[in-house]
Structures are given as C-alpha cells and as structure tokens.
C-alpha cells in the first residue's frame, strides 16, 4: 500500500465516522424539525440578513439547513460544511506555524468537536460553525495578503468584515488570532495590523450600536445566535463559545507540538488525539438518549410524515426516555399522538409515564411558537382545520418561512377552502428552495385536478370532520369534544377526549362520557385504560351512575385491581416501589400515585 493511499484512508475513515455520526446520532431530520427558517430566494431576504452582524453566516447556514429536510442530503451538506471549516482552519494554521503533523489531525479534530457540540446543542452549533468557517476564510485571506506591505492596513478592514459577516464573537476571535499569530511569529511590520484588529474589536461594536444599526446590545456585542433564532428564548450553551477558540487554540497547540523533537512522541500524540475523537464518537452514540429534546424533534419529523410506527418504536427502543430526568414534553406529546393515530391511545397510553397529565396530551399551555406546530399537527389529524390554521399562523409569526409551518398553513387554507389566501402563501412558499414539488401539487389541486397528492390525502374526509355550528374555541379538550360531538366516528378525536378526561383523573366525567352517548365506544370491548378506569370507578363509588354495570371489564383486570388494592391497603414496606414495578402501565398507578394532582409535578418543574 502506498504512503499516499494510507494517508487517504486515514483521512477517509474519520469522515465516514463523522457522516455516520451526523446521519444516525444528530439526524438531520430532527434538526430540520426545529422549525428551521427556510432559505428564501429573494433579494429582500438577502438584504435583511446581511444588514446585521453575523447576517452573511446566517444566510449561508440557512442555505445548508434546507437540505436537512432529507436525511441523506442533509448529512452530506452538514458534513461538507464541517470539512470545509476544518480545511480552512488547518490551512490557516499551516500558513502561520508551517508544516506540522498536528495540523493534519486538526482536520479530524475540528469537525468531530463541532459535531459533538451539535449533538449537545442541535439548534445553534451549525450556525456558529458557519461563522467559524467564514472567520477561517478571512484569516486565510489575511495570510495570503501578508506578503504585501499594505496588508497591515487591510487587517482592520478585514476585522470589520468579520464583524458584519460573522458577528461580534467572531471578531474577538479574529483579534485573538492576530495576537497569537504575532507572538508566534513576531514581526514589527505586522504590529500595526494587529493593533488595528484589536482596536476594531474594542471599538467597532460600540460604534455600530451607538451610531449605525438599531440593534440590541447583545447582537452588537456578544450574541452569536442567528437573527432568526434571537426570537426563540432558548438558553445558549456556553460550550458554543469554545468553537470560536479553535483557530487561536490550534495555533498554540501546533506550535507547541512542533517543538516536540522525537518523531515517536509526535506519532503517539497524533494517534492519541485521533483515538480520543473516535472513542468519544462511539461513547456519544451510546449516550444519545441523554438528549430527549432532540428525540422530540425527531418524532415531530416522523409525525409530519405520518410515520407513527417509527415514533412508537423510538419510545420502545429507548428505555431511558421514560426516566423522569429524561422526560420531554414533546416526546410525550408525539408518542400520544402516534398511539392515537394507530388507535391505541386508550390502550397503551400508560406504557409511557404521563408525568404532566393532560399537559402531555395538549402542549398549548402556555402558548409558545415552539409548541404551535405540534398543536397544528394535532388539530390537523383531529379534523379541526380552523384551529390547526390558528396554531399554524401563531407558529408562522416566528418561523416565517419554515417548510413545515408553511405547508400546514397552505394545506389548512385549502382544506378550509380559502383558495385565494392559499394561492398567496403558495406564491410566497415558491420563493424557498425545495418547495417545488409541494407547490406544483397544490397548484394542480387549485386548478381542479383530482389526482394530486393533496387530493388523495383524504382532504374530503378531513373536511367532513370539521365541526358544524358556531362556537368559540375555548381550550383543547373543549375543542376536541366539539369535534367528537360533530362526528362520533372520529376515533382519533374520541381517543383524545377519553384520554384527556382519564389524565385529569376525573372518573365521574369519564363515566358520563362513555355512558351518556357523547362519544362512540363499544362498551363490550373498551380499551384497556378505559376498562381499568371503569373497574376503579365501580370499586371507589357506591352510589354509581345509572348504567355503570354495562361496560365490560376483563376478569384478569378485575383480579389485577384486587391485587393492586391489597398491595396499597397493606400499606407496608415500599408500596410505591411495588406499585411502580408491578403496575407500571396501569391507570390505577397513574390515578393514585402518578398524576400531577398527586405528584405536584407542574410544567415548570417537569
């Protein structure tokens, strides 16, 4: 095997690992479901982006982000972005420090590290990587110009360019690189340029804030979030700041490494660094369940595709997601939705810990843009298009051109029959990338063609589900009740109605619902959770509603309830522990030990 081939393999392996990591662990689909703002092909969009510090980086990142709607292409684009960053940083380091074996492994280290950051913070890591990428490009340009005497005067201008293209933190990193570069290769001629870069870092953000741009102080001085993300109040992980330190840190590290004289020591260090990256990648894969939030996004993307089995399997395959420390409201929400879509909600809902009770069924309180898209999806499935549209509009107020949100806005308008507005949103949406197929299909539908994907998706059935009459929408349970009242065959909504009452631990209301004809249920074959609730009602209340004897309860459930009662009434030892282990999936456990009224668990406490 030639030396060149070995080198190629050594470079290829980490990138294959990286692609594997991005594809399986980060999963571009979960990334995209964080309601990524779309990349819009209009000059207005470009100018609004580049008008603020960091805007160009955001613009380019939005371009890359579009591909995350597709797992393969998303992986390809994200990995390409990481590669380019690594290449540019490594090239810069070589230019400053000279040829050095450690500089070679930077090309491993940087993308792997950024991928790990993306794994811990799916929202911002790639956006910040793009800032680092552009910073590295400018640093390379600056190095290319270093042979010219006038370079020292260009450096402050480049610093300003970095500020506007990549944002304030990148500017500080640029100045730091200049300082480090100077100390590694002291040259009095460069001092003017270094001082200029430092002066720009110290003063330019202040000048911009005070006199040039009407922006917030954080946007001018220290925020690294993309503009679109400023509106979303998620905490920033401090580790993200470390990404900016890559270029200056790599300078120092490679310089120090270059001073190790023994070749064998150099080889050991190189292999050690490579091993650290690989081992961390493998360990990361094992610990992926630690990030239920991303799981929620991934489930959202699956729900968008009506891939309910995948959602159910996610929960099945990831035991740890049931643990209280890993609880995520959106995982709970999408799991419930998947069960309802499969007709299993009232059978299997307690196979997942419903810690927040009804709040795991409806995520509209408190209303936030991040919960509006899931609520749109819920009411779309349930058949109340006006409410789905209402939530889609609320989501759209932040995620102006999100693919997911735009598609729901358009589809709900089409279902409602507001073709004029739908046409306008189609025109708007056609300005984004990757919308062609969707737009063409809906336009054909508007033109009256019958064989469109949309027409065949059961639009008439959805329309027929819409409640008649005139009422104000009050809360999700009430709205679901209205849907069920209108169409008793709507099993999705019926399950939600029953589940919401069960989760409220309101047995009386539950019995009234099933006995009073408010919804269509087969009293001889009730879902398991409903049978458990009936058995419990009979056991708890002597004065029962008329007809309480009608619903059938399987004998084994009645026996199980007796056992449950014995365990609880014995009241010795670790009752809670026994109940948790022996009656994990039962409604009784939820009713007595687990519902939020008993546990006091609220949304803020999770």
């Amino acid at each position: 095997m030639t030396r060149k081939l070995v080198g190629l393999i050594l470079v290829a392996i980490p990138y294959l690992l990286l692609a594997y990591f991005v594809f399986w662990v980060i999963n571009p689909l979960s990334y995209s479901f964080f309601q990524q703002p779309a990349f819009v092909l209009t000059s207005d969009f470009l100018w609004t982006k580049v008008g603020v510090p960091g805007g160009l980086a955001e613009y380019l990142q939005l371009f890359v982000d579009q591909f995350t709607m597709f797992r393969f292409w998303g992986t390809l684009m994200l990995v390409a972005e990481l590669l380019l960053t690594a290449f540019l940083v490594s090239r810069y380091v070589r230019k400053v420090v000279g040829e050095n074996r450690l500089a070679d492994i930077i090309i491993w280290l940087i993308p792997a590290a950024i991928a790990f950051v993306a794994w811990t913070d799916v929202k911002y890591a790639f956006a910040i990587n793009m800032q680092v990428l552009l910073l590295a490009a400018v640093l390379n340009l600056q190095q290319s110009l270093s042979r010219f005497d006038w370079n020292r005067f260009v450096t402050p201008l480049l610093a300003i360019a970095v500020y506007h293209a990549c944002g304030p933190v990148a500017l500080y990193a640029f100045a730091l690189c200049e300082i480090v570069g100077y100390f590694l290769n002291p040259d009095r001629k460069k001092l003017v340029g270094v001082a200029g870069a430092v002066a720009v870092a110290a003063l330019w953000p202040l000048l911009v804030y005070k006199f040039m741009l009407p922006i917030k102080p954080n946007a001018a001085f220290y925020d690294m979030r993309p503009q679109e993300m400023m509106f979303i109040s998620f905490n920033l992980s401090a580790v993200l700041y470390l990404l900016y330190l890559y270029p200056p840190l790599m300078l120092l590290l490679t310089k120090a490494y270059g001073r190790i004289s023994k070749e064998r020591t150099q080889a050991i260090v190189t292999i050690a660094v490579a091993l650290v990256v690989v081992v961390t990648a493998v360990a990361g894969q094992q610990k992926r369940d630690k990030l239920p939030e991303r799981m929620g996004f991934r489930m959202g993307a699956a729900a968008y595709r009506n891939d309910w089995n995948q959602i159910i399997n996610y929960v099945k395959e990831n035991e740890s997601i049931r643990k209280s420390e890993n609880y995520d409201r959106f995982v709970n929400f999408f799991y419930n939705m998947a069960l309802a879509a499969k007709g299993q909600l009232c059978d299997r809902m307690f196979s997942y810990p419903q810690r927040l009770g009804e709040s795991g069924l409806f995520v509209d309180e408190p209303m936030a843009t991040v919960s509006c898209l899931p609520m749109t999806m819920l009411f779309h499935q349930a058949g109340l298009a006006t409410n789905a549209l209402h939530y889609a509009f609320e989501a759209q107020s932040t995620y102006t051109s999100s693919h997911y949100v735009m598609r729901y806005v358009i589809d709900e308008l089409l279902i409602i029959g507001d073709y004029e507005s739908a046409d306008k949103y189609l025109a708007k949406y056609s300005n984004t990338m990757l919308s062609k197929r969707f737009v063409d299909d809906r336009k054909k539908f508007l033109a009256g063609e019958k064989d469109t994907e949309f027409a065949m998706s059961g639009v008439d059935a959805i329309r027929s589900k819409h409640p008649r009459g005139d009422f104000y929408m009050k809360n999700s349970q009430y709205d679901i009740l209205k849907i069920v009242t209108n169409d008793k065959d709507n099993m999705f909504a019926t399950q939600y109605l029953l589940a919401s009452v069960l989760l409220q631990a309101d047995l009386d209301m539950f019995m009234k619902l099933i006995l009073g004809g408010y919804c269509k249920v087969n009293l001889n074959a009730l879902p398991r959770a409903c049978q458990e609730a009936v058995a419990l009602y009979r056991a708890l209340y002597k004065e029962v509603l008329p007809g309480t004897e009608k619903p059938q309860v399987q004998p084994y459930l009645q026996d199980q309830l007796k056992t449950f009662q014995q365990v609880v009434s014995r009241n010795s030892g670790d009752v809670r522990g026994i109940v948790d282990s022996r009656f994990t999936d039962t409604y009784w456990r939820y009713y007595f030990f687990f519902n939020p009224k008993v546990t006091g668990v609220s949304l803020s406490k999770k």
Partner: protein, 500 residues
C-alpha cells in the same frame, strides 16, 4: 462587413422594439391588477404600475394625455412607468384625464385592443407619507414587527422602529397630531412596556398607567394642538371561532377614556368618560374642543357571540383652560342604525365623520361585513361610499391633512391581508373609486403576506432614527401624574374613592 452586420442587427432590433400590434378593437376595458381603472389620483402619487389581472399577456399600453401619447414599457406583461415621465405627465395634466389604451392577448389567444380606462389627475395633493405597522397574520403570538413609513410619492419604505432592536416587544397604535410627523406616539407592550412619545423635539417613553386609569393608554387620538392626547384604557380579550369566516373576535370587558396633557405630563379624566359603559376609540374634532368617541353598554357575564353588541357614537367637550368637561351627548345611536359604530375619524374641516360600521363590537378588521360610512355633521346624513368599500372588511381609515384623501385598511380581495387603499374626497360627501398603494412591481402583493396595520397619513418623514427610538424605548419609562382633582375608581364606574 462586421460594421454592416452590427447595423443590420441594430435595425432589426429597432424594428422588433417598435413592433405594432394591430388587434381588433373590443368594447371592454382590461382587467388589470392593481385595479387602477377609472380613478382619481393625486398629482404627487408614485407611478401606478400594473399588469393584467387574469394572467393574459399585456403587449402594449398607450396613455393619451393632454399634449401627447405616452407608450408604456411593457415588460413581462407589466406596464411600468418611467418615474420622471410619470411625474411630468402628472404635473402637465392636473385637472385633466389620462386615457390608457391597452393591447392585450385575450383568453382565446387573440390580440385585441381594449376600450380605454381613465385616471383623473386631481390638483389635491396627497400627504407625502403614510405610517403603518407590518405584521404577520398571527393573533396571540408575535415576533418580527415594526412601524414603517413609506413615501407614497415614490416607492421608498423606511422603518421608524423595528421590534428586533427592543427585545421583540409588541408595538402599535402609532399616532400623529394632525398628520404631523414631528409629533408622534406609539405603545410598546410585553417587553420594555410604555408609550414612546415624540413631542416638542424630544423622544421619551412614559408610563401612562395611573391610579385613575385601569390600564396604560391604548387607542390614542392627538388633539390638533399637539399636546393633548386622548386615549382609551381597555381590558381586552380575543376569542377564536370555529367558523372561518368569523375567525376571531376582539372585545373589551371594560374600557374608559383618559386625557394626557404633555405640557404638564398629567393624566386626567372625568366621570362621563369613566362610566360602567365601555367608552372607547376617542377622536378629536379639528376645533380641539370636541372629543368624539364610541360607547357600548356595560357587559354582563359571558360574552357569547356579541351579535347585537353595538357601540354608539358620542361626543363631549373639553375646556383646557379650566380643565373641565361638558356633558356627553349621543351623536349616533347604534340601535337606530342597527349595528355597531367604531373607529370614528373626523375630517379636517370638521364637517364629516368617517366611521366603520359592523354587526358587532368595535374591533372590526376581522368583521367581513365592516364598511366605511360617512356622517355629515351638518345634515346628519349617513352614506356608504361605494368606491371606498368592498365585500371584505374595511377598517382603520384616516384622513389626509387637507381632507381630500382617505386611506382605508381593506382585506380585499383575499379577505386575509390588510392593505392600504386611497380614495379621493371632493369635500361634498363624495368619494371616488379607491386604489391600492402602488408598488414598483405590480406583482408585489402576489406573495406579500404581511398586514399593513393602522395606516395613517403623515405630511413628511418622521425626523428620528430607529436608533433614537430604540434608546428611548429601552430607557426606563417616565411616570405621568394623575390629575389630583379627579376622584374616580380606575376600574370604571366613576365610583368616588370616598364611597368605597
């Protein structure tokens, strides 16, 4: 040889450019978008570029003016004016009519020459700017929004302030004193709350909530004197319909009216404006002494659908010298009209009130049936100007400072997005057909999904920068003083504190 080729190519290009379309003459006018047919236009409006409305091709447009025939550039089916030429044509044709003859390819593929449509150039100039809020269609949450100003003599839009610089605060109810851009206010909600007021050359944020008001100021109206601001104070809620055509209903559980004197920075009111009924939407008459407002009976319990919950039009006088109020007087009784009267706007000559008329409530942008009506205070006649209204909601209107133009927020034609339309007023109760705010590209509105909210005329550009607004809004609010002579309960009812 090469030169000859160039000349031949040039000549053929010239022939192509001057190609004449000899279509059959038809007797119908072209359907164009925006609809700029048969309208009265101000002498200082931006070019009215257009295209055909039904997607067929526009080949050629000749505009016959007093002295010449101007051929419009037709590119990609759009008729586009040269800006300089447009200005000259308007200046040369004041009080005259422009006749547009369009040659089009009709729906059958034939080239036809349509019957001409006209535009009368009015000598009544329109205020050079409008101010509005641009906002997405969303009802509970908001994100990016801003207050913008647009020069309607050209196509330039500038932000007065965008909320991205002030922590995504909600902002609205921008208001000017007699269309004067030097005297302005806007409210900021949720983050950095308060009322930012540009007054006497100074921009400052105030807290207008006092012991005698149930909330901070909401719907404002500047007195033409430039320092008194009447504002409603409201407890507002909104509800969503399952019925898409009704969509959303905004209503108040309580509301009153207060008056802020910017000279003394004092807030006052009176029992007549703080009754248990719902006083709302103040509007000063140009005399500066008469305050018009709407009022509806006190609400009891559940609001229901509020069909039949109507606001009447009232007025009250105010004497600033003595800080005294007259007696409230009903101008138009809702029951007499069979509907709700809202958003009263008094014409600058004081003779007319343009108001919105709807079948319920006061917040009517979502009321499809809402139309602009005109009350002649001299004759008490009420008319529904046809040219101003449409089958969609019309609301949030305002007069130009000379009283010859009305801007109307209309959701026509899509029913979803509010856009500003202008209509000429002849001073004798007659409006001409309205026209849409012109944009450089006639396709502009095709994919524009922001709403022009609360459009108002201003006579020039607001002399501040977004940075100044940002700094004023980010600063701590200056509290206004409650008038010590007022002794009422803040939550309506005019209950004297001593009676509590």
């Amino acid at each position: 040889m090469k030169k000859l080729l160039y000349i031949a190519f040039g000549l053929s290009a010239l022939v192509a450019c001057t190609k004449s379309y000899n279509g059959a003459v038809v007797d119908y006018k072209p359907a164009i978008y925006p609809d700029y047919t048969d309208i009265v236009i101000p002498v200082n409006i931006a070019p009215l570029n257009f295209r055909l409305a039904n997607g067929t091709d526009l080949l050629k447009v000749d505009v016959k003016t007093k002295n010449e025939v101007v051929s419009l550039k037709c590119r990609n089916g759009k008729a586009l004016w040269n800006v300089r030429k447009w200005r000259k044509v308007l200046a040369d044709n004041v009080n005259d009519t422009l006749f547009y003859t369009a040659t089009i390819i009709d729906s059958t593929g034939k080239t036809v020459q349509c019957a001409p449509f006209w535009q009368v150039v009015s000598p009544d100039s329109i205020d050079s700017h409008i101010a509005y809020r641009l906002i997405n269609t969303g009802y509970v949450l908001w994100d990016k929004m801003g207050i913008y100003q647009r020069c309607i003599e050209n196509f330039e839009q500038k932000p007065i302030i965008e909320n991205s610089s002030v922590d995504v605060a909600c902002m609205n109810c921008h208001s000017f004193s007699a269309q004067n851009p030097n005297t302005m206010l806007l409210h900021i909600r949720k983050f950095n709350g308060g009322t930012a007021i540009l007054y006497d050359g100074k921009l400052q944020k105030y807290n207008t909530k006092t012991d005698i008001s149930m909330s901070a100021g909401v719907y404002p109206s500047w007195n033409p004197n430039g320092y008194l601001i009447a504002m409603s104070t409201n407890l507002i809620s909104q509800q969503f319909h399952n019925n898409y055509s009704k969509r959303i209903y905004v209503s108040d559980s309580k509301s009153d009216i207060v008056l802020l004197n910017m000279k003394t920075q004092t807030l006052t009111t009176c029992p007549q404006l703080s009754t248990k009924a719902l006083e709302n939407l103040p509007a000063w008459a140009p005399d500066g002494r008469t305050l018009y407002y709407v009022s509806a009976p006190q609400r009891d319990g559940e609001k229901g659908f509020d069909e039949g919950y109507w606001y009447s039009l009232l007025r009250i006088t105010y004497d600033e010298a003595t800080n005294s109020w007259g007696t409230a007087d009903t101008v138009l009784r809702a029951n007499d009209l069979g509907g709700s009267i809202t958003f009263p706007k008094v014409s600058p000559d004081g003779r007319y009130i343009a108001f919105t008329f709807a079948n319920r409530g006061y917040f009517t942008p979502f009321n499809r049936e809402a139309d602009i009506h005109l009350l002649d205070l001299k004759t008490s006649d009420i008319t529904t100007p046809e040219g101003v209204n449409s089958l969609c909601s019309e609301s949030n209107h305002g007069w130009s400072h000379n009283g010859h133009w009305l801007v109307v927020g209309s959701k026509w034609p899509d029913g979803m997005f509010t856009k500003p339309y202008f209509a000429h007023f002849d001073g004798n109760g007659n409006f001409s057909k309205r026209f849409l705010l012109p944009q450089e590209d006639p396709d502009f509105y095709d994919d524009y999904t922001l709403n022009y909210n609360n459009t108002d005329f201003i006579t020039g550009e607001v002399p501040t920068t977004p940075i100044q607004w940002r700094d004023a809004i980010k600063a701590a609010p200056v509290p206004v003083n409650a008038d010590p002579s007022v002794d009422i309960d803040a939550l309506s009812g005019a209950t004297k504190k001593a009676d509590k």
